[in-house]
């Protein structure tokens, strides 16, 4: 080895701090996570494949990923708008609203779940306006979409906000003096600057939505093939003592979340580089 593992420093405590960090990380995170992969390895590849591609499971993937994608897209659009309004404009109550944007982070998912269900049920404050048109929201896939929109809301706002605050005014002024309209300036100057942050926020909201459980199960109705999400199927299998089947599904979810994590890390790196370059 040409380079040493650690550069010399006068500060003490490196071995203790790193040792404790690694021990704790292994005990709490890495060993338990590896248990899922080891358990699944007891299945042969065809067995594994058959377990994770039954029609009921595939229907759950379709709902989980479809609803997550739709919710993340809606959040990208409105998150950008909310971030814009909070950064650029002044209006009464702005600080309180800014703080409340984090509510979905702070509110336990079960509470969000029952509140949204009460609101969007046929006799609820919001649901009753849709009922006459024959639109049911609670206990249908639409309800899943509503719950996932709620829990993903802060991600886009919070990733765009700091970048939007740093957009340099000179660029916008230059665009204006060159004859660009406000809309052109937004589309050609501001949007390209905040675009990496927008995509990062979208990916974070999507990743969170894919794994979500607590807020969804109350409002989904949980009908097999129709409104059953993948995390719920894992629980169902566990309750039937089908540990191997539950773990196989968990491994699918884990692999997907690791891939999403890699993509998000790449996006954040892109975002930082774009910011530094400006």
């Amino acid at each position: 080895m040409v380079t040493t593992f650690k550069r010399h420093s006068v500060l003490p405590g490196f071995n203790l701090a790193l040792g404790f960090t690694l021990l704790y990380l292994c005990l709490i995170v890495l060993i338990p996570l590896s248990a899922a992969f080891i358990k699944t390895a007891t299945l042969s590849w065809p067995q594994f494949w058959a377990t994770v591609t039954t029609p009921r499971v595939v229907a759950s993937y379709r709902l989980t990923f479809g609803a997550s994608l739709a919710a993340a897209l809606l959040n990208a659009l409105f998150g950008l708008l909310v971030a814009w309004v909070l950064v650029r404009y002044r209006f009464p109550g702005k600080q309180i609203i800014d703080a409340l944007v984090d509510l979905p982070f702070a509110l336990p998912t079960a509470v969000a779940g029952i509140a949204l269900t009460a609101l969007y049920a046929g006799n609820g404050w919001i649901g009753r306006w849709f009922e006459p048109f024959g639109i049911k929201i609670a206990f249908t896939p639409l309800g899943v979409f509503v719950a996932l929109t709620f829990i993903g809301l802060p991600f886009v706002v919070r990733t765009i906000q700091p970048v939007l605050e740093d957009v340099e005014c000179e660029l916008e002024e230059a665009a204006a003096t060159l004859g660009a309209s406000r809309l052109q300036t937004f589309a050609r100057v501001i949007l390209p600057t905040i675009f990496p942050a927008l995509v990062t926020g979208f990916a974070l909201a999507f990743a969170r939505a894919v794994g979500e459980y607590g807020s969804v199960i109350f409002i989904a109705g949980n009908m097999p093939m129709i409104s059953e999400i993948t995390p719920l199927l894992i629980i169902t299998k566990l309750e039937q003592y089908d540990y191997v089947g539950a773990t196989a599904l968990a491994v699918v979810m884990l692999v997907i979340s690791f891939v999403l994590l890699l993509i998000i890390n790449g996006l954040q790196w892109w975002s930082r580089r774009r910011e530094d370059g400006l």
């Binding site: 500060l11 709490i28 002024e173």
Partner: protein, 299 residues
């Protein structure tokens, strides 16, 4: 905001002085009002109305029912268990966060980026999967299951499992707050203390801790909110035994599934209050932490 300020200090002539007094980097008033209106409508529909409805549903059957639902023995035992698991999980993750941030921010070593990614890992794992992996290790059919059964120890469907699942889901909160903060602050002050002969503990308690205290508190607040509110992971390992392995969110679920809506929302309203307190503390402490970071990054 930044833009408004800059336009005022530099001399920018409005493009069309006669027709409007609009600055070149501002939108017309009607656009501004529409955007604010649409944003507020969206937030009202998806945030404020659900929040208000929790308190409305909780109090709908009257204050008597509300308090009766909260002081009922099963509810009290759920509150107690929630407090216990947070009281164990938060200090452990604070300790871990400090150790990880000290190693990562103050020293240069190989594999640091990988370590940071691994620390963030629990955030990207579905709560249900977080619970399941502990069942695979400590459950009756798990790796340690037979050994635990032999010694009459219970982890899954008991309090230790709930605490472990809570630690897992709140694992990154403090570390991910402290790592960037301590990296931004650098280690010159600590090095100066070390050269002057301060011991490791003295360096930490007198130099580092005062610099990071707000960031630390901020991370602990977020960690606590998640610890008390976690549902999915805890639900898998709890076994839902009333009065013994139910946390507050699980108690809400049971009451709700029994169509006891008033009681479910009463307990839920306590959790919603916790969320509101968290948001207030978060914005107060967050501002201080941000000031700390800015002051220290200035040369």
């Amino acid at each position: 905001m930044a833009c408004e300020h800059a336009t005022m200090s530099t001399v920018t002539l409005p493009l069309d002085v006669g027709r409007s007094r609009l600055r070149a980097t501002q939108e017309p008033t009607w656009v501004r009002r529409t955007l604010i209106g649409v944003a507020l409508a969206f937030l009202t529909l998806f945030l404020f109305v659900p929040l208000i409805s929790v308190f409305y549903e909780a109090l709908r059957k009257g204050v008597g029912v509300y308090f009766a639902s909260i002081v009922e023995p099963d509810a009290l035992s759920a509150i107690k268990l929630t407090l216990i698991s947070a009281a164990i999980a938060v200090p452990l993750n604070v300790l871990f966060g400090i150790a990880a941030a000290w190693a990562i921010a103050k020293f240069e070593f190989r594999g640091k980026n990988l370590l940071i990614t691994l620390i963030d890992l629990p955030f990207s794992v579905s709560p249900v999967v977080s619970g399941l992996i502990y069942v695979l290790i400590f459950g009756l059919q798990g790796w340690l299951g037979p050994w635990l059964a032999e010694h009459d120890l219970k982890v899954i469907f008991a309090v230790p499992g709930i605490v472990m699942a809570t630690i897992f889901v709140t694992f990154p909160f403090v570390a991910r707050e402290l790592i960037p903060l301590m990296q931004a602050q650098g280690s010159e002050e600590e090095e100066a203390a070390a050269v002057l002969g301060a011991s490791g503990w003295q360096i930490f308690s007198r130099v580092t801790l005062p610099n990071i205290k707000w960031g630390l508190l901020y991370g602990a607040i977020l960690c606590n909110a998640r610890a008390m509110g976690e549902f999915g992971a805890v639900s898998v390992v709890s076994g839902h035994i009333r009065g013994s392995t139910n946390t507050m969110p699980l108690h809400v679920e049971i009451l709700y599934n029994e169509y006891n809506f008033a009681a479910a929302f009463a307990v839920a309203s306590l959790l919603a209050l916790l969320a509101l307190v968290t948001l207030v503390l978060k914005s107060v402490v967050g501002d201080r932490a941000a000031t700390d970071k800015e002051q220290d990054t200035k040369p």
